[in-house]
């Protein structure tokens, strides 16, 4: 019986990971986490530990992702994939309400809320930062009841990254790879020839509660040192950087920069970057009536600023060119969000780089705009 307090650390042997999973289920959580499907590590139901991508990793670069075998049996030896946690908190399609005709009027029936408590297993530092950004969007000035209900019951089990992915740049964004806050439990996987185990840090009382019956050992100084060393190594091996110094003014003062034209020629306006982005929240709502006209449902679905119809007003779109749509996305993500949500919209996870079919790299685009800025006094 463990009675742990916030901030305490313990060790969990690799063979006892299954105990953590069953403790989560016993506590009523629906455990979701990384799992292999269709040649990639996506997020899905974790029924048992074999559902995790044990011994697998991913090789990522701009526009390419390949699943590969590791030479060891690390449980979390990979980086983020095409899915993000937003698919659970902000589902791609969600019915908001249903209206029924009643004589000459109508009645609106709100959507019953699912009472599901998710445990997100394997959240990376950047993803915790992404969750914080999403909270500002959906649970700040704007209150989204569905998001709020799911978010309130959420348990966040973080994992510190043991390696940098091919498109990661969390160090630049100040979001990782070290897990510092916003978690209920944080794991660091420590794998040596002699011992395979996790260092577990308790972040909240909810996190401590699930550990009560999980077999744990003491965490000594060398365990914490080993974990710190892993994270430091990950940070040092990160291949990409994005210089955020003065980025708000840099981007907003360069709307006519020639680079926009160059990137627009490559951009497919396919929306993939926005779909994989953990913080992109744009959506549309639509009314879906039945044929008889007696019942109508309002649905919300993911939308994207790369869609022509997204800015359709009075039958015409505001952002007609691919250039204006790419510029909108980048300037909003890296500059406009500061004004709107007091944070960058980018968490440095690299998904938009990997999953862009033509490999457009946000870090390269910013660097290009920084290298040759518009002349001072150029018309905005």
């Amino acid at each position: 019986m463990n009675a742990l307090t916030v901030g305490e650390k313990r060790t969990l042997e690799r063979k006892d990971l299954a105990h953590l999973l069953s403790a989560l289920r016993s506590a009523g959580y629906r455990v979701v986490g990384p799992t292999i499907r269709d040649g990639a590590i996506v997020y899905g139901e974790i029924g048992r530990e074999e559902d995790l991508p044990i011994g697998w990793t991913d090789r990522q670069d701009a526009g390419t992702y390949r699943l590969e075998r590791r030479t060891d049996s690390a449980v979390f030896g990979f980086n983020v994939g095409p899915h993000s946690w937003k698919k659970y908190l902000f589902p791609s399609r969600e019915r908001l309400w249903t209206a029924h005709k009643t004589g000459t009027s109508f009645e609106i029936a709100p959507e019953p809320r699912e009472e599901v408590a998710f445990a997100f297993l394997g959240m990376r530092a950047c993803e915790l930062a992404g969750l914080d950004v999403s909270d500002r969007v959906f649970d700040g000035k704007v209150h989204d009841p569905g998001y709020h209900a799911r978010r309130t019951r959420l348990l966040r089990i973080a994992v510190q990254c043991g390696q940098a992915g091919g498109t990661c740049f969390c160090v630049s964004m100040g979001t990782g790879p070290a897990v510092r806050r916003g978690f209920d439990l944080a794991l660091t996987e420590i794998l040596s020839p002699a011992r395979h185990y996790f260092l577990v840090e308790v972040g909240t009382e909810a996190g401590a509660a699930v550990l009560v019956d999980v077999p744990l050992g003491p965490a000594e100084g060398p365990d914490t040192e080993a974990a710190n060393e892993i994270v430091a190594r990950t940070a040092a091996s990160m291949g990409r950087t994005l210089n955020v110094d003065g980025i708000h003014d840099l981007l907003l003062s360069n709307p006519e920069h020639p680079r926009w034209e160059i990137v627009a020629r490559r951009c497919l306006s396919c929306t993939n970057c926005t779909m994989v982005c953990p913080t992109c929240f744009c959506h549309t709502t639509e009314e879906v009536p039945d044929l008889g006209g007696d019942r109508v449902e309002r649905w919300r679905r993911w939308d994207s600023c790369f869609n022509l119809e997204f800015t359709s007003l009075h039958g015409s779109s505001v952002r007609k060119s691919g250039l204006s749509r790419y510029r909108q996305w980048l300037t909003h993500k890296l500059a406009g969000w500061y004004d709107q949500f007091d944070t960058s919209g980018c968490i440095g996870c690299g998904r938009c780089i990997t999953w862009c079919p033509v490999g457009i790299d946000i870090t390269e685009e910013v660097a290009a705009i920084r290298t040759v800025p518009s002349k001072p006094g150029a018309k905005p």
Partner: protein
């Protein structure tokens, strides 16, 4: 309030395979609701009983490939309040529009034992090139729920909610793993209009472009990517030259890729 007569719907066939009309019959669960909401007045695939026009809504399948059909579509238009094309043939000329880029005379000689029996135009054209069209529903074949959406929209005089965005967004909403990025598969999804539900990528295949070009297709950016997956220029041309070969954006893409030099 006086009871209005239910709107009268007709279904017409031109050069096509019947697959899109069949989609209406495939609306099994919703078919009774459709039959309650409208009078299906002229639908020869479903019934020989024909109620004379005029019609409130005509669903037109198929492309125009004969002089007789070019005349007949004008008749259909004249007796229809709304005319909606259904499918790639009616909307872009269909697979049979490949004739537009070839010598029809030669086809006639090579394919038919008695070429003199065949009377045909040199081209296969979309319905909108002959008469005014109120809405074009894409797909080869069309999607059942989009068809129901179009019917229900025209019943109450509203604009159908049929997105013109890429297949990619639907792929991502569905949680599919991108076949281009994760498997290096050639895929037309980034330039193709959504509507099918991203079926092919869900089964690990690239998109074949059945729904034709999306609203702002950047085919010039996609072509190098297709070539990067190992497609030859000839294969890229063929990729764009299927059910929507004559859709302007796909046709332009085909023509932008130089023909592979023929062997000596």
């Amino acid at each position: 309030m006086a009871t209005r007569r239910p709107p009268r719907v007709a279904v017409w066939k031109f050069a096509s395979c019947d697959g899109c009309q069949l989609t209406l019959l495939d609306c099994e669960d919703e078919l009774l609701a459709v039959a309650d909401a409208v009078e299906i007045a002229n639908f020869r695939e479903a019934s020989r009983a024909v109620v004379e026009g005029p019609y409130d809504l005509s669903l037109v399948e198929g492309s125009i490939t004969t002089a007789e059909d070019a005349r007949r579509i004008r008749e259909v238009r004249a007796q229809s309040r709304f005319l909606v094309t259904i499918g790639a043939c009616a909307t872009a000329g269909g697979i049979q529009a490949l004739r537009n880029f070839a010598d029809v005379e030669e086809y006639r000689r090579v394919v038919y034992a008695r070429p003199e029996y065949i009377t045909t135009l040199a081209s296969s054209t979309a319905i909108r090139e002959h008469v005014a069209v109120d809405f074009e529903l894409r797909g080869c074949p069309i999607d059942k729920s989009q068809l129901l959406e179009v019917i229900s929209a025209f019943l109450v005089d509203r604009v159908p909610n049929v997105p013109t965005e890429s297949v990619c967004i639907e792929c991502k909403r569905r949680g599919n793993v991108c076949v281009v990025v994760a498997h290096g598969a050639p895929c037309l999804g980034p330039v193709t209009q959504t509507g099918c539900g991203a079926i092919c990528p869900a089964f690990h295949r690239g998109c074949y472009g059945c729904f034709g070009p999306m609203d702002s297709p950047n085919t010039a950016a996609l072509i190098p990517l297709l070539e990067h997956t190992g497609m030859t220029p000839a294969a890229v041309r063929r990729f764009f030259s299927t059910f929507n070969a004559a859709a302007p954006a796909f046709r332009a893409a085909t023509e932008s890729v130089a023909e592979a030099s023929s062997p000596p």
